[in-house]
Structures are given as C-alpha cells and as structure tokens.
C-alpha cells in the first residue's frame, strides 16, 4: 500500500486541478470509488484487532505486572520472592505475543481463514521509529526520576506497597500515574479504532481507564511504587474484561464454515 500522506497530497492536488478545469463532481466520484477500494484493502487487517485478543494480551500483561508488585508484598521474605516476581515479569512480556499467536491459530484461521500480511519498508520504518521513540522516552524518564528513585528504592525493599502512605505524592508521581492512564487510554482507542463504533460500551471502559488513575492517587496517596500496583491491577482488569467480552461477541458472530456436502 502507498504512503497515505503522499496519497492525500496527491488527492488535494487532483481536487485543485479538477476545480480549475471545472470537473469537481467527477473527481469526487472517482475518489469515492477509490475510497471503496481502500476500504476493501484495509478490511483484512481488521481481523487482527476486532476479536479482542490484543486487549486480552495487554490486560494480562498489566495483571502480571501488578502481580509481580504484589508478590513482593504478600510473599514472605525469601530468595524465592525475587524469582517469583521475575517469573511474573516474564509472563507479562510473553502475554501479548502468546495471545496474538493463539488468536491467529485458534480463532482467526478456523473461522476467517489463513492470511499473512506484507511487511514492507514502511512496516520496518514504523518498528524502528517506535523503538527509537520508546528508548528516548525511557532514557529521559530515567534521568528525570533518578533522584527520586534513589529515595524510593529503600522503601521498595521494605515492602513499600504494603507500607502506609508516605506523605503526599510528588508532582512527578502525579505525572507518571496520569501518564500511564493516558497512554493506556490512547492505546485502548487504538485497539478499538475499528470496533468502537459497533461496541458503544467501550467508551465507558475508555473513560474508566483515563479517569481512574488520578482517582486512585487520591484514594491511596503515596509514592509512585505504592500507587502503581492498584493502577495496574485496575487497568489490566478493564482491558482483560473488555477483551473477553469482545472475544465472546466475535466467536458468536463468526462461526466456522459448515462442512460442505460431498
């Protein structure tokens, strides 16, 4: 597929030319036909996002992150506590790819059929740009938070999550938690860009994901490490439940093809 920005520029140029030549209606007719073609071409990609597998994967990852944090509080102090926390982190990293693989193999292929997508230059460019941006943000955040983390780290080692709230959250704690909420809310919209028109109830989930982190800050004030487990637990649960409901809906509306008579 062509670059959509280049296509849009070309489209605007064509409209300008058509206006000069006094044939706008005809051009719009062609544009409409082209848009129909574009719609047909975009449809195959929708199956990877409309069955809720992405939401389940992302929700599971956040639930594992929360479990990892809570494990360090609930479990008694032992060498195993660290290993169990790491195990949960590993599960969190694997949740998304495993869910997408399972959805492709057990949900999409038996019902919709096999499809493989092209990974051209633009796909790799997108991946590399995303990685560079993510790395840049991570490094900037680490440098910004380093002085605060030095104070918080000893608290974390001594059951920071279970410990009573240590004063009011700082501005950076507020920013981080609100940022996590905002990021997850935007991601939720991206996951559901296609299906949210059909599933209006997803707007409620979107608002909950966006609004609840600041509410949790007020309910359980503390530092970032104290506030993040309940936020992760809540957001993971919303994502997971939303994904499960979407998957059930998808399975009900996309039955495997009936075997044909010999």
């Amino acid at each position: 597929m062509k670059n959509p920005i280049a296509q849009y520029i070309q489209f605007v140029r064509n409209i300008e030319r058509a206006k000069r030549e006094g044939r706008t209606g005809e051009l719009l007719k062609a544009a409409r036909e082209n848009a129909e073609l574009q719609k047909i071409m975009m449809r195959p990609r929708q199956y990877t996002v409309i069955n809720g597998a992405g939401e389940i994967g992302w929700g599971t990852a956040w639930l594992y992150f929360a479990s990892s944090s809570y494990a360090s509080v609930v479990l008694p102090a032992s060498p195993w506590r660290g290993h169990i926390g790491m195990f949960f982190l590993l599960c969190a990293c694997l949740a998304m790819p495993v869910c997408l693989w399972a959805s492709k193999k057990f949900v999409i292929q038996p019902r919709i059929g096999y499809v493989a997508f092209r990974r051209g230059k633009s796909w790799w460019t997108g991946i590399i740009v995303s990685m560079v941006v993510a790395a840049g943000i991570s490094i900037a955040l680490s440098l910004w938070l380093l002085p605060e983390m030095i104070h918080v780290a000893p608290l974390s080692a001594n059951h920071a999550v279970a410990a009573p709230a240590s004063g009011t959250p700082s501005r950076s704690d507020h920013l981080l938690i609100t940022g996590v909420g905002l990021m997850n809310a935007i991601l939720y919209l991206m996951f559901n860009a296609v299906s949210i028109k059909e599933h209006r109830w997803k707007w409620i989930c979107f608002v909950l994901i966006l609004v609840m982190p600041p509410v949790i800050i007020h309910l359980q004030p503390g530092n970032y490490l104290q506030m993040s487990p309940p936020v992760m637990l809540f957001q993971g649960s919303v994502y997971f439940l939303s994904g499960v409901i979407t998957l059930v809906w998808f399975l009900r509306h996309h039955q495997p093809p009936a075997p044909e008579a010999e």
């Binding site: 051009l27 062609a30 047909i40 071409m41 195959p44 059929g113 096999y114 499809v115 092209r118």
Partner: protein, 98 residues
C-alpha cells in the same frame, strides 16, 4: 469527454470486472491468503471465486499454490508482481478516467 472515454477504455478489463476487482484489492493488501479467507472477504460462492481466480491466473496476476496445513489441503493465493503493477496502474487509470 473524449479523453475520459479513452481513459475508461484503457482500464484493464481483467481487473475492471467488479468481482475480480474485489479479489485483486484484497490480495493487494496482503502477502498471501487462503481460499477460505478470500471467500469470506468477497462473499462469493466457490464456483464464482474459482472462475474469477482462473481468469486472473491466466492473465498472470495471481499465483495459486496447492499445499497442506497438517493434513488439511489449503489453496494459497497471492498477487504476482505483474498483478500488483496492473492494480496500481488500474487505480491511476481510475482517477484519470474522471
């Protein structure tokens, strides 16, 4: 108007037929897919789809590969390079026609 008529007459007739246009549009968006996927996307019956695919294969636009997934037979379909170029040309021609 004459230019428009000429542009319309120059559109690739193999692709211009609505059924085949839909098939080529779906295949242009993916690397490869199987017969079941294409049937779901185009909502055609097996006979129609096979007939259109045969014409596209004869024109060298589509490559059809019979294979197996485990023990289940699977028909893999993909657009050839010639098919992609023809589809791009068709879309350009569509704009030029109006």
């Amino acid at each position: 108007m004459n230019e428009q008529l000429r542009a319309i007459s120059e559109l690739d007739r193999v692709i211009h037929e609505p059924g085949r246009l839909m098939i080529v549009a779906v295949l242009a968006a993916v690397k490869e897919c199987d017969f079941l996927f294409l049937r779901n996307e185009t909502e055609m019956n097996k006979g129609n789809l096979s007939s259109h695919l045969s014409k596209l294969e004869a024109a060298g636009y589509v490559e059809i590969e019979k294979t197996y997934r485990g023990k289940v037979p699977m028909t893999l379909l993909r657009l050839t390079r010639k098919g992609r170029i023809a589809f791009d040309e068709y879309r350009k021609g569509l704009f030029a026609a109006f």
